[in-house]
Symmetry: C2
Subunit: 119 residues, 2 copies
């Protein structure tokens, strides 16, 4: 069992399986490219939100928005056949990145405030 | 400063800023819905890869594929104006979810193997 090679690059693997895996990988790669580009757009929007909040001198935190967003994402995940817990983990992951960005923006505005929300 | 309210739900905030934030949030919400649906498709593909590998009795690990994928994502992130380190963190996040799925698939096939890759 330890000598079993990985499928994708193994010329001895069943050619039909090998072909299907390569085709699936091409689709995964396309989706990843789309995800990267969408995330880039998303960060542009949150960057602008961060700027506006810093300019206006208002707190970035908005617990009502957070709750609404988690509820919305959980419901979309459910419809899309995703684990709703995954949706929440995904949001947390993105939020942590946005917080990092927002801290940078706040520093540019000469002030560091508690930045615990992302939009 | 501690009494400064959050912008989005604050009726006293500058109406123009408030309007722009609400509009940005609507765009963020649309992008999040798209991200959820794309991720759902992505997990379908990795699920099928997991099944094929389990059926074929080959190891899921494929370090060459991993390296190629990290390189590709880093380059796409760079073009898309994203932090390349973020691309790698994002991949790690998704991979950890796929590993969780693959473990379940391998268990269904009556065997638990080291599952340290996702496609």
């Amino acid at each position: 069992m330890n000598e079993t090679p990985a499928t994708g690059d193994d010329p001895t693997a069943d050619p039909a399986i090998r072909q299907e895996i390569l085709s699936l990988r091409a689709s995964i790669d396309n989706i990843d490219a789309a995800l990267m580009h969408l995330l880039s757009e998303r960060f542009k929007f949150t960057h602008r939100v961060g700027e506006l909040k810093a300019q206006a001198g208002v707190l970035p935190a908005d617990p009502a928005r957070d709750r609404e967003q988690i509820q919305r994402l959980t419901s979309i995940a459910d419809q899309a056949g995703l684990d709703p817990q995954f949706a929440e983990k995904f949001r947390d992951f993105i939020v942590s990145e946005v917080i990092r960005h927002h801290k940078r923006i706040a520093e540019e505005y000469g002030e560091v405030r508690p930045l615990d929300t992302y939009s």
